[in-house]
Symmetry: D2
Subunit: 338 residues, 4 copies
Amino acid sequence: MIIVMNDNATKQEMEQVVDRLEAVGLKVHLSTGDSRTIIGVIGEKGLIAEQPIEAMPGVEKTVAVTESYKLVSRSFHQEDSIIDIDGVKIGGGNLAVMAGPCAVESMEQLLESARVVKAAGAQFLRGGAFKPRTSPYAFQGLEVKGLEMLAKARELTGLKVVTEVVDVESVPVVAEYADMLQIGARNMQNFKLLTAAGKSNKPVLLKRGLAATINEWLNAAEYIMSEGNYNVVFCERGIRTYEEYTRNTLDLSAVAAVKQISHLPIIVDPSHGTGRWKLVGPMSRAAVACGADGLMIEVHPNPAIALSDGKQSLTPENFSLVMKEISGIANLMGMKMA
Amino acid sequence: MIIVMNDNATKQEMEQVVDRLEAVGLKVHLSTGDSRTIIGVIGEKGLIAEQPIEAMPGVEKTVAVTESYKLVSRSFHQEDSIIDIDGVKIGGGNLAVMAGPCAVESMEQLLESARVVKAAGAQFLRGGAFKPRTSPYAFQGLEVKGLEMLAKARELTGLKVVTEVVDVESVPVVAEYADMLQIGARNMQNFKLLTAAGKSNKPVLLKRGLAATINEWLNAAEYIMSEGNYNVVFCERGIRTYEEYTRNTLDLSAVAAVKQISHLPIIVDPSHGTGRWKLVGPMSRAAVACGADGLMIEVHPNPAIALSDGKQSLTPENFSLVMKEISGIANLMGMKMA
Amino acid sequence: MIIVMNDNATKQEMEQVVDRLEAVGLKVHLSTGDSRTIIGVIGEKGLIAEQPIEAMPGVEKTVAVTESYKLVSRSFHQEDSIIDIDGVKIGGGNLAVMAGPCAVESMEQLLESARVVKAAGAQFLRGGAFKPRTSPYAFQGLEVKGLEMLAKARELTGLKVVTEVVDVESVPVVAEYADMLQIGARNMQNFKLLTAAGKSNKPVLLKRGLAATINEWLNAAEYIMSEGNYNVVFCERGIRTYEEYTRNTLDLSAVAAVKQISHLPIIVDPSHGTGRWKLVGPMSRAAVACGADGLMIEVHPNPAIALSDGKQSLTPENFSLVMKEISGIANLMGMKMA
Amino acid sequence: MIIVMNDNATKQEMEQVVDRLEAVGLKVHLSTGDSRTIIGVIGEKGLIAEQPIEAMPGVEKTVAVTESYKLVSRSFHQEDSIIDIDGVKIGGGNLAVMAGPCAVESMEQLLESARVVKAAGAQFLRGGAFKPRTSPYAFQGLEVKGLEMLAKARELTGLKVVTEVVDVESVPVVAEYADMLQIGARNMQNFKLLTAAGKSNKPVLLKRGLAATINEWLNAAEYIMSEGNYNVVFCERGIRTYEEYTRNTLDLSAVAAVKQISHLPIIVDPSHGTGRWKLVGPMSRAAVACGADGLMIEVHPNPAIALSDGKQSLTPENFSLVMKEISGIANLMGMKMA
């Protein structure tokens, strides 16, 4: 940490800061200029973070030098991590495609979706059984019945199942039916849920919060990893900005950034990211081109009668088209589509 | 709902839309212009919301005419609601002040804070026992021990206790010790937690999410009210914007807006809202001037040694000063400080 | 400036940085920790800013210690500046009210507005003769004819005139007719226009850009002041965020912040800031309560037939009401309404 | 336009609205539901836009049905426009690459940059002669001297020259030296400058404003086109969000969206868009993959000594690498790199 003192800070104020830091065992370096003093602080990260230096008299600001996450960082693990989901790999050159309806509505709808996405080359079936909805009066999902349908669809198609878990209480039941737990954008900083997911033995797909910084997102993954669960995959799904044409602003530079900062895989959800099915194709291509390890795409056998998010769902025909386009890019990027 | 058709939509596409709506019992009005057709849809709100019209061929966009919340709306309850917290009132001209440290650190710190804020005129003691923190390695709160200390401080000072609940599981224990449950910004759309708070018999302080629209915030309160718990108080605590000088951007226009849209009380947290103790005084005055029903302010007997958020905490002296300033404004606004 | 080196920066990389800085005459302090080196740089601000240190090998990031503005800062001028507009004062305890229609539409409309706002206690008549509009097909203002009407209205009422200047070319003509030049949000970083306004001998009202940081805004004022024109007044008018209920998000904490950082006066425009006339009253009260030196409010004799921004304009009756409310708050704050 | 009346609007209020619209010759359709009335308005776009309906009593909100731009729209011109810059084409399958230093610093630096980017396959030399800078004390560019150097570099390399014009006054001199006028992000709504560019006979590169919506951006282009200059190319360069890791948030979904809405070409500037040279490669690939018609990339022979934006500039080696990567993607997308 670096501490910048006010230009009219007194010698006594500076000494107070130094004393406080040294009292807890931290090392201190002073740089005294003509108009102000800068204090460099060296020592254990957690210890430094706990010191409320900015509230001390004479202090103008403090600047963090290192980030607070460790296990998610490439300095902790240099090679790309490969997450193995019961035989299907994500990361390290394996492009994962997760597709299916926004919500599980019925066995027929789910199975038809599953067959369509399987045929087009997806390895994962997505579909919400528990749906977080803005209004308490909107469709909230089929819950456990939906999980059973997902398991049935897996049995019949061989697809892996990824589905959202919305509270600590239902981690066990979702873990029983699903191959991968999804933590949604609204729960990215539901730290109790992150911890519970970290204690489960299931791989976790961690969506970025609506207004989460990359740094907060990495720290959320650290919550999971610090419980011993190293099978974490990030999912960029758009951030909230002032732009109204798209539902969210898909931040693909976050994908390239996370690939550089972390060893964990990252996939992209262009369906929620844009909220418009006509943008799903172009953004899927772009995602793979900038290094994403996979895609999560909404496909519905009949978007016009979907119970949620029909506007952003692809028809089976359009999904096949998108799959063809991305396979070209994946190939160019040296990636395998399992 | 209003449906705007594309300017090259076919007659058949228009009829498909109409048929679908009429099939579920909705009434439809057509306005046909030279270049495009507009369809007005009338009927039960929930039923309309379930129709995925935007995915149908020929549809350009849909526009919601009415909001999805009911119980929180002034059309449901014209008069200002007054929330009675075991004898202390919020709303209807009663200015509530909640003050205390960000986190409960020790009995001594808490009790000293409680005495200070009581002496200056606050009616509520705030203080986190469960702390949601960005990093898993940061101080996470004293948990149940912290709750016990809060209850003890209430016993000794007569202040009401408001404290955060971070998961469904701990709703009962927090409800046992606290007079009011706080739902924090990161959990504003943790719908399971909202529902659990709605099922408890405790008043709820609902903070606005970091990037929540006013509409989403009102819907979050609807989750609580729809469970039968009508004792909800909003708390504006700043939204996330590009501005870096302040920790968040305190959106006081949301206070004035919520007062017009809803009958529920709303208070303001200028400490988290600005992240700078020097801005707490001016923004407290502004909050009361624009109609807020109360304030939540961080006060620490010694901010420079606080375990969290020392930068934004007031000293006892500064808190007394702020209380004097706001009492002048409250008086002018015709409000009682209980 | 502080330079943070990578944790794997070589000694040679560090020396390269030091050499480059010393070569141009800057002083350097090293703080070497176990894992990384921090370099403090001291010397002339402009010289430091010119060094592209972040592109040098081994450098992780740089942190600015001091801001780049000088003349706008309170360290340059400790006392509140009072701007004298031909006898009417802004700042130093004088509350200025600027009111009138969004656009000058006709002599009748303008004069009626002027009389209304004068009667209610405003000292300035506002009204756009040159209107920056999103679409080229929208009403662009009466231009010089509008300026003539403003001057006529001044003659008949004694109000001072503040009106927008949208390009360098028209600075002379606007300066000829107006008492104060307004630089609009969209032109806040039109540096040529700032420079031209700085060279004129007219006081300048500098609106905050739609997405401008406080720091950028202060620097924009520095452009004007560095040309020798010290008569600058800031105007907060809302920033662009994701919130859609209000037209913009009025950032009153920026008002309190600017009052602390700078000696220049700052006023608030709640009409553009919220885009809703029902929020103008509450936000005007809040603005004065948090320290604003004045207000700019849209008033139209008949908002329902206004050519622009009717939705946010007050009727004469409502404006009188708002004036009464703010005079109470101004009084409490120890301010004179001239 | 659609007008939604309040649920307690009176019959008289509704009639007032209808009368006002019919008085100016607009056609009106009423849809009366149980609780509220909806009014559809049909007629000439500009005429509708001028009616301040939202300020009329009884009106809850209005919804625009059609956008205000015409010439930029695909409904006006179905085919992709191809902009011919003195023999080099942008759009219609021709990938344009504009590269060079952020600022023109000296003939040597510029020429070395030009040779490097030419050798790697760029067709345009970029470089600022007039530099808009946040602080008045930062390097403002070499101005006309810089333009002369650009022209000289063109003569020696055959590259086309694109450079920024920052005010109306210098449009003629920039047009004299450059092949294409760039309008920067800060000037995207400098309507006088747009109009002047529209009156020049030079192709215009229109960067997106820092906080501009897609709709505002398209309208800005309409300003240029409505003056008769149809040679407009958009440039996405990142928008301002809360994320701090990147300088801006590059919004590639805007590229895909603009390609669908408009016939004009659009290119991407990943250098300003991310502010980090390490992200330029991945985002260049992504841009081409989602349909961009070109790229603008900062290249400096020695970024570590660049006078501005060294942090985001590529070295010659890295630029060659990026060019190789994008040529693969361009090929896959069926595009020619001229």
